[in-house]
Amino acid sequence: MRNLTLAAFAALSLITLGCERKTPAVDPKPPEAKPVDAGVAAAPKQDDVILLGEVGSLTGPEAAFGISTKQGIELALAEANAAGGVKGKKLEVRVYDDQSKPEEAASAAARLITQDHIALLLGEVASSNSLAMAPKAQEAKVPMISPSSTNPAVTEVGDYIFRVCFIDPFQGYVMAKYARQDLKMSKAAILKDVKSAYSMGLADVFEKKFSELGGKVAGIESYSKGETDFRAQLTALKKLKVEGLYVPGYYNDVGLVARQAKELGLKVTMMGGDGWDSEKLFELGGAALDGSVVSNHYSAEDPSPQVQNFITKYKEKYGAVPDSLAALGYDAAMVGIEAMKRSTDLTGPSIRDALAQIRDFPGVAGTISINEKRDAVKPAVVLQIKNNKFNYVATVKP
């Protein structure tokens, strides 16, 4: 038994060595003029650089979201640095991949906070991952901004957690209202992804709102992300003879749903949310998508100079039209930078206070006001698909 105990402690010390090679945990660097917890939000290594942290899924099935977001953030930083940085310091971002796994996200967040001593944490797209990161940021008093986690629970974690997008209920509400009032739809059905929190959240709200507005949700079917055959569900829905089908899923699935619905002779108007937003959607769904409507954060057709400026720069750098995740990543970074500029001393609490004060900030994905729940209050746009293109049709205000 003694050997075992020894082995256990040997192991513990090994881990200590493994993780803490750079900065021993037991002896954190003495904080310089930092009223925050010792060793938690200490100063960046070089005085002329402010380090930001980002956690995103850069590999795995949701890689496309993570990469768009990352590019948006990088663009924002490049712009800010070109304009002289913040308080005379350059900005840098350190990005860790979380493979779309909450435990990896938590681990990466903790590493950014404790090891890399970041001033501000950005991420994640998926709400589950943001929910895993948020307590780490909250505990260490490092402000965190999620660009596009729409689950209401994310910012409920604590007063250091912010977001620059609207929340699930709003998107479900927008589409229910548009379907009922503009499209005059009376009978609709829902096809949702039970593996995705986002999809379930939107579906719930749509169901509730659509009924409240006098419509009827005749059927709800579900699938699991990764499935490619939706014919069973669509056949079941075909019997119901609905006018509209709300599919709040991601583009991978939606493209196939549209194609197979057409194949089965199902004539409905498909509706969705920002998860549809990808060039890939048209490759997968093609003409079957024509006439569908989606809610989204922004429209690339928006003529405002700010949006067009962003699109031009993004195209220059990455050779593609930015999707809404890129726009939100950009906005999240811009809001963060703005808050740092306004903050008194670049410590967690002061940045936090500045973030809470953001009102009418002109983001590319709508004008952002942070409310008392630390959520962004901003309008949504409704887009209609025609000939493999999203066309702007309406703006719905909160």
Binding site: M1, L4, A8, A11, L12, I15, V26, P102, S128, V157
Partner: protein
Amino acid sequence: MLRTTSTLVVAGAACALASWLFASSQFFALQASLVGVAVILAVSLNLINGITGQFSIGHGGFMGVGAYVGVVTSSLLTQFQLLPGAPQVVSDQLVLLIALATGGLAAGTMGFLVGLPSLRLKGDYLAIVTLGFGEIIRVAIQNTKEIASDELKLVQAQGIGAELAYRVTHLGRATGLSQIPQLTSFGMVWFWVFVVVMVTRRILGSPHGRALLAIREDEVAAEAMGVDTTGYKVRAFAVASFFAGVAGALFAHFQAIITPAQFDFVKSTEIVVFIVAGGLGSTSGAVVSAMALTLLPEVMRSLFGGFNVEQIRKPLFGLLLVVIMLTRPQGLFGTHELWDLGKRKKRPA
């Protein structure tokens, strides 16, 4: 008995001390906890796959059962003052212990129920049944609802029975259960590492361990020698599932959020990789390789900073399995143990 108690007390004290010493580094605590949980999972799965020679690839599912049951328990209990007058830390740890026990017992019972029919089947069938079990658990959780805080308040007013019913049917589906009381310290995790290693060692040193090994070596002969093979397999399965459940509950209480996707087939396979790399049947091997492979991504992050290396981790894991099986099927340690190094010398060649 006395020896056991005193050993546990000493180990507990040591772990508590370590927790206190390293409390300042969130990152260290998180890594140490993750590693500890991986070790518990590996050591317990080794009891089934390594020592008893069966093949389960559903350990992640049992971990999930423990995690969810544990969280429901602790969420219910944290509202109550269990020990009036005691400091918060003490009552928190008591809640945690109860949560771990219920999580472990639930997983153990589940293991018993799954094992009873399926352990009569041959190894590869067991593999597929355990895998299927994990999938069913995932689907079941996805079919629950999300907790709404206003609803919860209403239900709480109706008493603990109503709240229990509410919480059991509201496991957060794909979003996951969040706002979990963060009660686990890595000391607690490592205390359980100690317990699981001790329990496996004690079982191995007893007639029961020999019976399990006999089943691994030759099931027909073991049965002919009066070993109730199904019974032993089910018991080993139940004990291993218990610890998987405890690991899950520990995990949940430092993870902030648990989602069904965290306990899927990939997780189960990861645990299999741990024990195969360490040497099927070797507890020390399971410990060492679980530690090494869990820290690997962090070490890679340290060395390379970016993500490019990380994405090859999973294919690398797969390749590692193949290479180990082809070149050193006994794994790192074979069936040997660190603590036997001294003893083995006297064995004649």
